[in-house]
C-alpha cells in the first residue's frame, strides 16, 4: 500500500512536470505559426527602411514569431506594427519591446552575431526608416575585425537594460547603443547578466570585455577600470509611496527615521548616504532595485534613491503606478560611461570614436527619445 502511494506520487509529479513542458512548447509552436503572416508583412515594411534587410524578411518572420510567447496575439503584434508605421517614436513601451524583439532576428543575417544586442540596431533603423532618416548611412569609424565583446550588465535596470517579458532577451537603451557602436567599429557585442555589486571586479578580472550597465563614471571606479567618454547624463531621484506626502524631496529623507532602499554598490547608495544625509543604519541595500520596489510597495521601506530614468520606469509599471510616485527633481548630475578593463586602449579608443560619431548624427538623442530618457 505504502509503496503504491509512493509510485503514484512519483507518477503524478512527473506527469505534471511533463504537462508544463508540453504546454509551453505547443503554445510556442502555435504562436509561431499564427504570427507568421502578419509579422512577415511587418518586417518587410520595416526592411524597406533598412538597406539589405529585405532579403532577411522571411527568416525574420519565423524568428520574430518565435520570440513572441503565449501572451502575444495577432492583434498585439499588429498594434505594435501600426504604432511603428505611424512614425511615432514614443510608442508604448510594450509595443516597442515587442517590436524590438521581433526585429532582432532580422538583423541577425546582417551582423551574424545572433545575440540580442545586434537586433536593436535594426529596430532603430526601422524606426528611423519610418521617421525618415537612414541610420545605416553612418560610416564605420574603426575596424576591430569582428572581435567578440562580452558585455556584463545588471539586467534589472529598465529602461537601460532589462529582460524582455515576452522574448526573455536583454533589451534596453544600453544594448541598443552597443549594437550601434558594434556596427561602427566592427565588433560583436554579447550582453551577459551580472550582479552589479561585483561587476567591476569581474571586469577587472577580465570576465567581461566591457561593462555597460547604466554605470556612472566615478573616481573610485576609475581606480579599478577605465571608462569610455560619457554617453548619457542623468541624476539620482527619490521615489516614495503616494500615501506618504511628507517626503517631498531628497532633503526630507534624513528626518523621521525614514528607511531608504538603494542598490548595493550604486551611486544611489552613495547619494543617499552623503548627499541626502541618511544614516547608515537607515539605508537598506538590495541586490537589485526590483527587490527594493517590492519592499517599498509592501511598506517595508519609505523611499528609494536610484537613477532618475530607472525610478521613472519602475514607477510607470502597472504594479507600482498607483502606489509610488517620483518626488522632487534629480539631485545629482552623473555621466554614464562604458567600463573597459584597464589597458584595453584599442576598444576604448574605438568606442569613443563611435560614440562621438553617433552623438554628432543625433543617434543617441533619438535613442533617448525612444526610451523616454530626459
Amino acid at each position: 500500500m505504502k509503496r503504491m502511494t509512493t509510485w503514484l506520487m512519483a507518477l503524478v509529479l512527473t506527469s505534471l512536470l511533463a504537462a508544463c513542458g508540453g504546454t509551453y512548447t505547443t503554445t510556442r509552436q502555435i504562436d509561431s505559426m499564427g504570427t507568421t503572416a502578419p509579422t512577415s508583412v511587418a518586417s518587410s515594411t520595416l526592411g524597406a527602411g533598412t538597406t539589405g534587410a529585405t532579403s532577411a524578411a522571411t527568416d525574420a518572420s519565423t524568428a520574430a514569431a518565435m520570440t513572441m510567447t503565449s501572451g502575444a496575439t495577432l492583434e498585439a503584434s499588429a498594434t505594435a506594427m501600426d504604432t511603428m508605421t505611424a512614425g511615432s517614436t514614443a510608442a508604448s513601451a510594450t509595443a516597442l519591446e515587442t517590436m524590438t524583439s521581433g526585429a532582432t532576428m532580422a538583423s541577425t543575417t546582417m551582423s551574424t552575431t545572433g545575440t540580442m544586442s545586434a537586433m536593436t540596431s535594426t529596430a532603430m533603423s526601422g524606426t528611423t526608416g519610418v521617421t525618415g532618416t537612414a541610420m545605416t548611412t553612418l560610416t564605420p569609424v574603426a575596424d576591430l575585425k569582428g572581435r567578440a565583446v562580452v558585455v556584463g550588465s545588471d539586467t534589472t535596470y529598465p529602461p537601460f537594460e532589462s529582460i524582455d517579458k515576452t522574448s526573455n532577451k536583454i533589451v534596453g537603451f544600453d544594448p541598443d547603443l552597443m549594437a550601434m557602436i558594434g556596427q561602427l567599429i566592427n565588433i560583436k557585442p554579447e550582453f551577459k547578466t551580472a550582479n552589479f555589486d561585483t561587476i567591476f571586479t569581474a571586469l577587472a578580472a577580465k570576465q567581461y570585455d566591457a561593462v555597460m550597465s547604466a554605470v556612472t563614471i566615478t573616481d573610485d571606479r576609475k581606480k579599478q577600470v577605465d571608462f569610455s567618454d560619457p554617453y548619457v547624463t542623468i541624476g539620482q531621484r527619490v521615489v516614495a509611496l503616494k500615501s506618504n506626502s511628507a517626503i517631498k524631496s531628497y532633503t526630507d529623507l534624513k528626518s523621521n527615521n525614514y528607511k531608504v532602499g538603494v542598490q548595493r554598490g550604486t551611486t544611489g547608495e552613495k547619494a543617499a548616504l552623503e548627499k541626502a544625509g541618511v544614516s547608515d543604519a537607515n539605508v537598506k541595500r538590495y541586490d537589485d532595485i526590483a527587490a527594493a520596489f517590492a519592499d517599498l510597495k509592501n511598506n517595508a521601506i519609505d523611499a528609494i534613491v536610484a537613477d532618475g530614468p530607472t525610478v521613472g520606469n519602475y514607477g510607470e509599471q502597472a504594479t507600482y503606478k498607483d502606489v509610488v510616485a517620483v518626488v522632487g527633481d534629480a539631485f545629482t548630475t552623473e555621466d554614464y560611461g562604458i567600463a573597459i578593463p584597464k589597458g584595453d586602449t584599442e576598444l576604448q579608443g574605438a568606442i569613443n570614436k563611435a560614440l562621438a560619431a553617433l552623438k554628432q548624427a543625433g543617434k543617441i538623442d533619438e535613442l533617448k527619445n525612444t526610451y523616454k530618457i530626459k
Binding site: 555589486d197 537598506k284 541595500r285 538590495y286 541586490d287 527587490a291 517590492a294 519592499d295 511598506n299 517595508a300
Partner: protein, 271 residues
C-alpha cells in the same frame, strides 16, 4: 570506544604516550595556531578596519541564529510528534509540512517570508499602523521566521530519528506502568531520544548559524551584508571575505566546542 580499549591494555611507555597524543585534540591545536597566525597578520594591516566594520554585523547574525534555532527547536518537536503519531490528521499534516519545507530551498523560503508571508499576514490580521511598521519594517523578523520554519522540517526529522531509535519495549513498559501516551513520551521516550540526537541537533545549530548569511538577500544587516557592503565600496574582495570567513569560523568553532561540552555533560549519566 577506541581510546578506552587502549587504556585497558597493559601499556608500555610508548603506547601510553601514543595514547596521550591520540586523546589530544590535534585538530584544535592546528586550528588555534593557524588562527593566531591569521589574527596576527590581520591585526597588523588594513584587516583591522575591515574587521571592525564587519563585527557590527556579528550581533544580528548571532541574534537571528539563536532566535530562529530556538523557534525551530520548538516547532520541530511538535512536527516530530505529529510524524510519529498514530493520529491520521496529525501524521499527514506533519508529513506534508516536512515534505514541502524540506523540498523548497531555504533561500526561496526566505524570499517568501519577506515578500509574501509578512506583508500578507499583516494585511490579513489588519494590524494597526504602529505594529505593522514594527513588524514589517524589520526584515530580520521575516528572516527569523523563514529560517525557523525551514529548519523546523530538518529538526523534526532529527527528532523523529531519535524517537524511533528508542526500543518499542520502553513505550510498552511505560504504558503498562499506567502512564498515558503523553506521559510516557515526556518522561521516558523523549529524554532518551534527545540525548541520542544531541550531536545532530548541535550540527543543525552550526548550520543555521552559517545559513543566516542567506538573510543578506532580504537586506538584513548581518555579517554577510556588511561584508558585501565593504567589498562593493573598497573592491577588496580577498581581504573582506577573508575577514568574514574568519568571523564565521570563530562563531561556528565556539559553537561546536559548546556542543561538545553539552554532549559530554549529558552523556555522563549513560556511561
Amino acid at each position: 570506544m577506541g581510546p578506552r580499549a587502549n587504556e585497558l591494555a597493559p601499556a608500555s611507555s610508548a603506547t601510553s604516550s601514543f595514547t596521550m597524543l591520540r586523546r589530544l585534540p590535534i585538530w584544535l591545536v592546528i586550528l588555534v595556531l593557524v588562527g593566531l597566525f591569521v589574527l596576527y597578520s590581520m591585526l597588523t594591516g588594513d584587516y583591522l578596519s575591515t574587521l571592525q566594520f564587519l563585527v557590527i554585523g556579528v550581533r544580528l547574525t548571532v541574534v537571528s541564529a539563536v532566535l530562529s534555532y530556538a523557534l525551530a527547536l520548538a516547532v520541530g518537536l511538535i512536527i516530530a510528534l505529529g510524524r510519529v503519531s498514530r493520529n491520521l490528521l496529525a501524521y499527514n499534516l506533519a508529513t506534508l509540512y516536512v515534505e514541502i519545507m524540506r523540498g523548497v530551498p531555504l533561500l526561496v523560503i526566505l524570499l517568501y517570508a519577506q515578500f509574501v508571508v509578512v506583508p500578507g499576514l499583516s494585511n490579513w490580521l489588519d494590524l494597526n499602523l504602529h505594529t505593522r511598521l514594527l513588524w514589517q519594517r524589520n526584515s530580520a523578523i521575516a528572516g527569523v521566521i523563514g529560517l525557523a520554519l525551514g529548519y523546523a522540517a530538518y529538526l523534526a526529522e532529527v527528532y523523529r530519528a531519535g524517537i524511533e531509535s528508542i526500543e518499542r519495549g520502553q513505550m510498552e513498559a511505560a504504558r503498562s506502568l499506567g502512564m498515558t501516551y503523553g506521559q510516557a513520551m515526556r518522561h521516558v521516550i523523549l529524554p532518551q531520544a534527545l540525548r541520542r540526537v544531541l550531536p545532530a541537533l548541535g550540527n543543525d545549530f552550526i548550520a543555521i548559524m552559517k545559513d543566516t548569511s542567506l538573510l543578506t538577500i532580504i537586506s538584513v544587516s548581518e555579517l554577510t551584508y556588511y561584508a558585501r557592503q565593504e567589498a562593493s565600496r573598497t573592491f577588496q574582495y580577498f581581504r573582506t571575505y577573508n575577514a568574514a570567513a574568519f568571523l564565521y569560523l570563530t562563531l561556528t568553532l565556539l559553537l561546536s566546542l559548546g556542543v561538545r561540552y553539552i554532549e559530554r555533560r549529558t552523556s555522563g549519566g549513560r556511561r
